[in-house]
Subunit: 342 residues, 2 copies
Amino acid sequence: MNRNSTLKDIAKLLGTTPATVSRALNDRSDISDKMKKIVAATARELGYNKNKVASSLRLGRTGTIGVIIPSAEQSFFGSVIHGIVNVAETLGYDVLIHQSNESYTLEEKGVHSLLAARVDGILASIARDTLDFSHFMMVKKKKLPLVFFDRVNASLGVTSVSVDDYSGAYKATEHLIKQGYRRVAHISGPDHIQIFRERMRGYIDALQANKKKYDASLIFPGNISIESGKAGMDYFLKLKDPPDAVFAVEDFTALGVIKELKDRNIKIPESFGVMGFCNALFGQHITPTLSTIDQQTILMGEEAFKLIYEMIVKGKNNKTQRIKNVILEAIPIIRQSSVKKK
Amino acid sequence: MNRNSTLKDIAKLLGTTPATVSRALNDRSDISDKMKKIVAATARELGYNKNKVASSLRLGRTGTIGVIIPSAEQSFFGSVIHGIVNVAETLGYDVLIHQSNESYTLEEKGVHSLLAARVDGILASIARDTLDFSHFMMVKKKKLPLVFFDRVNASLGVTSVSVDDYSGAYKATEHLIKQGYRRVAHISGPDHIQIFRERMRGYIDALQANKKKYDASLIFPGNISIESGKAGMDYFLKLKDPPDAVFAVEDFTALGVIKELKDRNIKIPESFGVMGFCNALFGQHITPTLSTIDQQTILMGEEAFKLIYEMIVKGKNNKTQRIKNVILEAIPIIRQSSVKKK
DNA sequence: TTGAAAGCGCTAACAT
DNA sequence: ATGTTAGCGCTTTCAA
C-alpha cells in the first residue's frame, strides 16, 4: 500500500513546515493567499487526504457519531438511518452503525464500542429486551451527547425525537368512530415498551371523548406480528358483542387482521374497519389498501441528527444543556380499509 | 465531560508504566499473570475504555470498514447492512456508512471520507448515476481492500458478491414457460446497470432453450418502478399478438403489472402469469401473492464482509490477492401469480 | 518480566 | 506570516 502522503511530505516539498501546511489547508486567516494556493496545489498533486485519525486524536473530537438501532433489516430503521446519514454527511460527520438485534447485551456492547471509537455523540433506539438502562446512564454521566429516537424512555431524562404516538392512536380511533363503526377494538403491543402504551392510551381516550364505553374485553394483547392480528380477530369474533372495527398497534398486526377477515369473508371496510400504525410500504399495495398513521421516519432521522449536532456544538461552549423532547406529528393516511362512509 | 482515563492513569495508580499496562490489557505473554490481574482490576475500577483513535494512529489500522450504498431507505440495502454489521461486530469491526443517493458526486465524496477515516476496507454498491469509476480505481490502486456487492461491475476487476442474476432470470422465465404460458414478455431495467443486462440475458436464453422464438417486441424498457410495470402492460396489450406472461426485472415493476392487469380484469394467474425479482416484503401480502426470485440479501451482506475481512487479514501478510467473484444462488419463490397448472 | 523512549500525523500555543 | 515545540494516547523497539 503506497503510503498516504502527510503534511510533512508537503512541507518538505515546499521547504516549509507541517504547521504552515496544516494552517493553509484549514484555510486559516493568518496564512497568505499565495501560500494557501501553492499548498493546495501540492496537496492535490500528491493526492493528499487528511488523516482524520491523527486529527481526531489531536483535537479530542472525531466528527463521528454513533447510531444504535435494533435492526437495519426493519424498513422503519432503514428509513431513519437514511435521514440521519444524509444530514450527517451534509454537516461533515461520519456515522458509525451498531445493531442490538433487540438484545440488551449487544446494545450494551454497542455503546462500549462507540465510546471506544470516541464518537462525538450517540443516537439510539432502545432494544426490545432492554430493561436496564445503566449503559445509557453512563453515557449521560460522561456528558456525551445522547439522543433517543422512536423507542424512547421519558423517565430517563434524555433528549429524544419520536412521533406523537398518543395523538396518532387517538386520531386513528376517532377516525374509525366518525366513520360510523360502533365498537372499535384494539390489538396492542408489548406493554413494557412506552410507545405501545402511549398508543393504547390514545385509543382509550379517544373512545371516552367520543362517548364510547371503554370495554377491557375489546383490547387484545398482541406482540407486533401478523399472527397476533389473526389471533386478535379470532378472539374478538367469538365475543358475545364483537367489535366492527380494529385499531391495530402497527401495520403487521393490521395485516393479520385483514387476512383473518378475508378468510372469513367479512367485507372490509363495509362490515369491518381496520386502521394500522407505521405506514409500512406494503399497506398501499394490499387489497384493500390499509389506512394507517405515518411516523415521518426520514424526518425523524434528520431531526435526531440535528438535535445531537446542536448538543455537540453547544457542549463545546460549555453551555448548559436543556433536555429537549421533539414530538413529530403523527399523520393519518386514510386509504380503503377504514372508509365506511361514501 | 470527565476526562476518559488513560493507560497513564492506570500506570500511575499502580506505580508502573503505560507500556506495561498496555501489554497487560492486550494479554501479552511477556506479562505476569499477577500484573495482568491487578491491571485489569484497576482498569475496571477506573472505567477504562481503550482509546481506539490513539490505538489506530499508532497501529496504522482502524478496525473499521466503510460501506457505501445508494440508500438505506431501500429495504434491499437495509437487509444487506444488517448482514454486514452483524458479522462485522462479531469480528470486532466498526462500520461506517455513507449513502450515494444514486449520485456519482456523493459516491465519490463518500469514498474520500472513508479514505480520510482510514478505514481498513470499503464495501460498495455502485450508484445508478455512476459511469466513471476512477474513484474506485484509486482505492484499488492504493491496495485498500474493496468489495462490490449487488451492483457490481465485472470489467473493473474488483472482488464482489452478487446474486446470480442471469440464472435467476433464466429460472423465472423457464418457470413461466413450464407453467404453460405461450408468450413470455420481459420488462427490463436501465441497461447501463450490469445486473439488469444479466437478467435480460437470462430471459432471452431461457426462451431459446425452450424453443420459444425471441421477439424483440416482447421486451419493454422500464426503469424499476410501478409505473414502468403499468406502462409495459399497456404497451404489451396493444400488440397484435400480446404475451400471456411477464417476467419483470424486479418486484415493483411486477407490482405495476399486476395492478394494470387487475384494472383490466385480466385474471392472474389463469389468463396471465407474472414473475418478479427481489423478493420484496410486500410480495407475500398482495393479492395474488407474487412469485419472485430471492436475492439472499442478508447472506450477501455477510459474504461481503467475510470477503473483505479475508482481504484485510491476507493483506497484512503481504500475500498476493486474487480477485474473487462470489455468486449467490438466485432462489425462485413460487407463489400464486405464476402458477397456472393445478 | 518490566521500563524508557520514540513516534504514528496532526494542530495549537508560543515565539519570532 | 511563518517556524518551533510539544503533546493527544497508544504500542513497540530496545535496553535492563
